[in-house]
């Protein structure tokens, strides 16, 4: 099991009673001085995480104070140079929204070289409201993701001669990515998914890591089972693995842990999007929209927003407590979902200060990590059952 430090680099200093914050909160609420301090503080904390032996995960969002990391490749480039050992997982490049897969291939190859092969290269379709910031036609986001990844990988792998590409979404001539990645043939690919079973299937077939975020364990299990099943059926292509992101806070006492957990919960309650930004037409399949029209969808989100810390912990969305208690929670979740390989920890959010952030990750690194590091890598289902027989 590998553990990853993660924060969305929030800018929480805006009026918290604003009814909607994603997409339309005017940027007059951003004070550049405060923002500069926060950027530098967050980068410092990534360097501390590196020194503590944790890996680093980055993501990006746009037009929202919940995430100042609007250009994750820039952050990855800084960390490639300023950290020593951590693997840097960019999860991920919103390749459909970026609209220039070759540029992404170049950026990622550069980060991989500067970090001497520490890049894990993720790709995401992007959450629904990202289509408004990027103005991507929502009916194409899925296809653009897969076409984009294929083009990036082709650009990395085709090392002997330039090639032309005339596809559905992009046309380029003489593709010849300089530099190529440090890792051969290219960094491990990661992709996220939250409900569609097609995504874990495709990831498994290709030996990519499949990740999901903040889902209750009973929703995670079938996705992870799908991944394992197809991993075996496709002859175990090698690489890959499963990743899950909960909120994580570790403290010396339950009351301190709850204080940290409450601050992390800001992420579930504060960033608000108007309902139509959460479901642009064509983002979800028709069948899901039929259900949504009958208003039978979305109980999870509502539940997570208003839920108690105990409920969040029971679901595995939050993992918090004293070190031994946190180890227990991780192992319980591991068993409930059939095992996983990467614990992506949102261990900072909202107003959590520097001291509390570092305290939590230090305690995790020193007292929790050693107890979970050797949890076996996920074994494909058929192999597991064969071993049991």
């Amino acid at each position: 099991m590998r553990a990853w430090h993660f924060t969305e680099m929030p800018y929480p200093h805006y009026p918290q009673d604003e009814p909607a914050t994603r997409i339309n909160l005017p940027n007059k609420f951003f004070d550049p001085q405060t923002g500069a301090d926060l950027y530098n503080r967050y980068l410092d904390e990534h360097m501390i995480a590196d020194e503590l032996g944790l890996d680093l995960m980055l993501n990006e969002h746009h037009q929202t104070p919940s995430c100042m990391d609007t250009c994750a490749p820039l952050t990855a480039a800084i960390l490639a140079r300023q950290t020593k050992n951590a693997r840097i997982c960019l999860l991920g490049n919103p390749i459909g929204h970026r609209n220039d897969p070759i540029r992404v291939a170049e950026e990622m190859a550069m980060v991989d070289c500067i970090s001497r092969g520490r890049l894990e290269c993720g790709f995401v379709r992007g959450v629904p409201y990202e289509v408004y910031a990027a103005n991507t036609n929502p009916t194409y986001t899925g296809e653009k993701l897969w076409d984009g990844i294929d083009l990036v990988i082709k650009a990395w792998r085709k090392v002997d001669a330039p090639f032309n590409y005339e596809g559905r979404f992009w046309h380029r001539r003489s593709i010849n990515v300089w530099p190529r990645p440090f890792q051969a043939p290219h960094p491990q690919i990661w992709v996220t998914g939250s409900s569609d079973f097609e995504t874990p299937r495709r990831c498994a077939e290709r030996g990519w890591v499949f990740a999901n975020f903040l889902l209750p364990h009973d929703k995670v299990r079938p996705l992870f089972d799908t991944y394992r099943k197809h991993f075996v059926e496709h002859g175990m292509p090698g690489g890959g693995g499963l990743a899950y992101m909960p909120l994580v806070y570790v403290a010396d006492s339950d009351s301190e842990a709850d204080k940290g957990a409450e601050e992390l919960r800001w992420y579930l309650t504060a960033p608000k999007a108007e309902p139509h930004f959460r479901n642009p037409p064509g983002y979800m399949p028709v069948i899901a929209n039929v259900k949504a029209m009958r208003a039978t969808q979305g109980p999870n989100e509502r539940a997570a927003r208003t839920a108690s810390l105990d409920w969040l912990r029971d679901q595995g969305i939050l993992i918090s407590g004293t070190p031994d208690n946190v180890v227990k929670q991780i192992k319980r979740f591991y068993d409930l979902v059939g095992g996983f390989d990467h614990l992506l920890m949102m261990d900072h959010a909202g107003f959590m200060g520097h001291e509390r952030t570092v305290k939590g990750m230090t305690l995790f690194a020193r007292e929790v990590y050693p107890q979970i590091k050797d949890l076996p890598r996920t074994t494909p289902l058929k192999v597991a059952s064969a071993a049991a027989e």
Binding site: Y132, N135, N137, P138, T139, Y140, R168, E274, P275, H276, F277, P280, P281, G282, V286, I287, N289, V290, M293, R294, A295
Partner: protein, 260 residues
Amino acid sequence: MAGEELVLVGGVELEIARRGSGKPLLLLPGEDMLEADSAFVAGLAKTFEVIVASPPGFGRSARPEWLTQPADHAYLLLSLLKKLNLARVPAIGCSFGGWIAAEMAVIDNDAFSRLALIGPYGVKLGGPTESDFADIYQLGPTKSAALKFRAPETMKRDFTKLGDDELGRIARNLESFARFGWEPYLHNPKLKHLLYRVTAPTLIIWGEKDGIAGTDYARGFAKLIAGARVATVADAAHYPHIEQPDTVLRQITEFLGDAK
């Protein structure tokens, strides 16, 4: 829509419904597909055989992946007219269907004897920071409905009372409208330069309370087609033929009557 049939054109199945009898008239519905069983079409059906054709991606019409813009719809629908042996028919295009009808007239100016466009999208008249159309995707369905309809509450459909098929079609209509209208937003940048090709007498009908685009847009659109007139409809928004069917029927009958 009831009584529909499917016609194969260019490998794409298109849904049509026929209403009434008489001289044929093509009707291209709007993106919300409210026309087929409306009082407006029932009124037209007293004098015409109204052929309501669901554009590709709407109703039960297929949506091939290669189809990305209303000019593509236009080719298929022109082929549909050929297949149905309809030449120089009067046509009514509503909203998104009006945009398609305009594209058809640009490609083949013999297709229509008369062209009535009710609240058509399709051209951009303002500059980059002047939106010709209210941004329904930014506003969301509730605020958009208030711009589209004079009395949006009367147009509300009770989704709990509709079957999966019907709800699925409504969801797919919304999806298709986004596919073809998201960017460039509800217009084809080339169309305004090509509308000079339209030679059929053209009437543009516009609801005075339309919050999606105003009568200035209607007049700007009309200027692009030689001889085109604008008729406005009081107490109606973006779908005047749905909200004030009698008024629009009168306007249309008079306009089509001129043809005789």
